[in-house]
Symmetry: C2
Subunit: 268 residues, 2 copies
Amino acid sequence: MPTLMPIGGAIDQENPALISEFIRRSGCEQARVVILPQASELADTGETYKQQFLKLGAAQASVLEFRSRDLANAAENLEPLRHASGIFITGGTQMRLSALFGGTLFEQELLVAYQRGCLVGGTSAGASILSKTMIAYGRGGPTPRERIIQFSPGLGFTDRFIIDQHFRQRDRLGRLIYAVTCHPGVIGLGLDENTAVVLEDDDRLTVYGSGAVTVVDGSQISASDIAEVQSRGAVAVAGLTVHVLTQHSTYQRSTRSANLPLRALKNN
Amino acid sequence: MPTLMPIGGAIDQENPALISEFIRRSGCEQARVVILPQASELADTGETYKQQFLKLGAAQASVLEFRSRDLANAAENLEPLRHASGIFITGGTQMRLSALFGGTLFEQELLVAYQRGCLVGGTSAGASILSKTMIAYGRGGPTPRERIIQFSPGLGFTDRFIIDQHFRQRDRLGRLIYAVTCHPGVIGLGLDENTAVVLEDDDRLTVYGSGAVTVVDGSQISASDIAEVQSRGAVAVAGLTVHVLTQHSTYQRSTRSANLPLRALKNN
């Protein structure tokens, strides 16, 4: 079953339960994880994750490092994706990923791996890149304002959800509302730090982690002035549906339904 | 066969051959054309096109006008799309189209019409909106610069081509190169004014009109610094393939081949 696992950045290093969940969803002790560090400009990003994945029980973890588009068409770099049960994309700058992988055989192979059921996930930039039209840059603030974000074409694992990260920590509700109002067919997912969703079949998602996931559904927007506002003015929009979901809450796109986990009643 | 016909704006009113070509591709004297004026803020835009389509020989032409998202889910506005042989989207502001139609039944019905072979075309904003990730705003100039454009989610008839218009007239080569370099899997089409392409099966295109179509193919980009440049600096990119095509030239995406029309040799 095609499954994505975007994470909102800043994974808790004392209690890396999200990495453990990634391993569990990649086949538990059979997990073969390929780490893509290309969003990062730091030399040791991939290796740090590799050690963490191995320590937490993945059978295999390897870093697939290259930085030229030629090598994104080379057979030696396509082969590891064919054997992976999980592909993990690190943080950094999401445009590095689209500029490097876009239009290459490597990009095609990533989409093939996703379709055959290999878990594809990532944190921060590695979460944003999963969308077809992604948020590339932007400013913070609670109010949607004209041009508060710059979109760019992502890797396109989903065109139904647009993913933002470091969500409450960087005060990004305004920009996510802007993104959804631009084209209300897209559902916005604002992932707090150390918080993730597991998205199955591009439809059903479950929340994991210590923060919240803010779901912004624009399908019931009755009106907005987004095409008229100029000079970074505030954008008006009526009829957004918003859900704030925490661990084990679920959301289904096809039915537009959010469900909070059942809590057992206390015995007195 | 799914067919798109984006036009670069400023259709020649003395010699509206592009409108005649639109009618021919919509079934000649059987053409039933639906005009969508929602990108425009002028009250008579739709009616002006309607008169032109009828004068040039379309069997039927009607303006489908509404400006609220409720009405983009109303059966009365879906029905005309089911009987159209051509759908023509006027110029104006492309964000008006995505903010109004995005996520509605009307958007779905447009895509269904396209898939069943109804010609879908438009001019200026009506051309840009056809792309999955579209160019929403931007600046002119020959050099690609950081954030020279703002993308936004379009209506998504094609995710293989990104369309720009008023191309030479507004000096937009820099921004089209920028767009392609962001994700080199997307092919840039820069349409001059009074110039169009007919794009069949999301693969083969033929050029019509008095100007040129600039095709920017990024698949052979060897390197760029687009993810590193800041503060509107100039972007470096190596290995673009560019074709400048005029009337009756063709281009095929699957083979990356451009062909100029054969010219008969003169007898001396």
